[in-house]
Amino acid sequence: MTNALQPSEFEVQDIMINMGPQHPATHGVFRMVLQVDGEIVKDLIPHIGYMHRGAEKLSETMDFRQGIGFMDRTEYLAQFNAELGYVMAVEKLMDIEVPERAQWIRMILCELNRLSSHFMFTGAFGTDAGVFGTSFTYAFRWREEILDLFEEITGDRLMYAYFRPGGLAWEVTDNFEARVRQVLELSKQGIKDIDGLVTNNEIFKARTQGVGVLTKEQAIDWGTTGPVLRASGVQMDIRRDEPYLFYDQVEFDIPIGQNGDVYDRWCLRMEEMRQSVRIVEQCLTKLQPGPIQPERMPRMLRTPPGEVYIRTEAPRGEFGIYMVSKGGNRPHRLKVRSSCFANLQSLRDMSIGQYVADAVLALGSMDIVLCEVDR
């Protein structure tokens, strides 16, 4: 049979696979077009913008108090961190001195928010990695304790709208310190649980080690921040490099990863959670009674003309607020530097040459919030 077709004579074509926008593994409405050769990803084109609500443009029509609520909705897993960036930008423009107690409480709430956000990550990422349901129920059991505390303080489970330019909206509950300590004990137990359940599990290790590798150079080139950058071995944390609030007065370590793979990002977030617990414990010892708003606050917030960029370390990386004011009571332009948006750009480098299932894992390991990507 000499005229039989040889394999090399076939024209081999890659297949384009459309994944999303409605797909359980894309953590929201995110669409990626995968060019696959069999199971191997050859190219990946991310399409974002399905969740665009125009929050930045909308904020231009809102005065400085009204805009806070929209920051919650921009970053719905780390709301306090998002509010913090916004109110800090207004404070810097107006040159307001924030009372010490308000700053400590802000710091405690932000770190607890980091804990709850990372708990959410452990649940969602477990689902991506195949620990379906189990890790979600474990993580949410502990996340719920933190949300209950937030609800007691602010009155809402998710959309807190609690920070105000100058301080806080109202005083925390009387049993605040005792409740925070209680939640911290529970969170420690939660971290231990999830650590024991997943981190050292050989099956999980086999699934995640060496997957979705992002080298140090690539991570810097793509402008990633937060856990994605630190897992690639770059020790960069805005809390230490440019301390805001009172982060220069507390001790904490900045964990870094070795290989920059998915497993490193998991371990790094577990370590960050332990550090957050440590920070909150130190904050509690320094919390003193005092005012939570400056003595003289104008009823209508008006800023002098100017522009300001505030960067804060949110659970997913650098959360920046660029605010331009031309005087008056609302921002002329507001730009949210979203951490997830920058991190998401590195997805292509992470996924090329890997299996399709690993691309899902790489996406999950970035812990994206699509609301924040599209704003």
């Binding site: 108090r65 009204q66 929209f70 303080i153 009155g155 050989e202």
Partner: protein
């Protein structure tokens, strides 16, 4: 193998814990005192009229423009033979709960402490089949406080 055994031990240890879930429709979670549902108006029990004078402060401050306020001369004012000290009073008040984003700003800007965030609802009582039914008028907004259903709150 060691890691897998550890995972199993973690799973087993949870058997000894008390469950944290609730049998939802039968048992509800107790709401904290500060719980923030939708805004309602307060009723002045001494003067037998709403506290609200219809000054439009909340309407102007609302980020989502969910309120509509109309003001009128108070028929019970002293100048016309009544007993009330309020010269102006609320005539009509609508809040569209479908638009409200529960930001608490209306409560903060109110000069007369006439509006507050309800803290007795757990959410599902307000579910309707038609969005237009979410628009609340003045008697509906006042009814919660008039009938004394509101729990004491702290955010005032």
């Amino acid at each position: 193998m060691k890691g897998i055994l550890k995972s199993m031990a973690t799973t087993l240890s949870t058997f000894a814990r008390k469950p944290v879930t609730r049998e939802y429709p039968e048992t509800h979670k107790e709401l904290p005192e500060r719980d923030r549902a939708f805004p309602v108006l307060l009723w002045d029990k001494e003067a037998h009229e709403p506290f609200c004078t219809g000054c439009h402060a909340c309407e102007r401050a609302c980020p989502v423009e969910c309120m509509t306020v109309l003001m009128k001369d108070n028929p019970a004012h002293k100048s016309v033979g009544g007993e009330s000290g309020r010269r102006k009073i609320i005539d009509k008040f609508w809040i569209d709960y479908g638009r409200c984003m529960r930001c608490n700003i209306c409560v903060e800007v109110c000069n007369f402490d006439a509006i507050t965030m309800n803290n007795t609802w757990e959410g599902h009582e307000k579910s309707v089949y038609d969005r237009a039914d979410l628009v609340q008028d003045l008697p509906m907004l006042l009814s919660e406080h008039r009938s004394g259903e509101l729990k004491p709150w702290v955010n005032e």
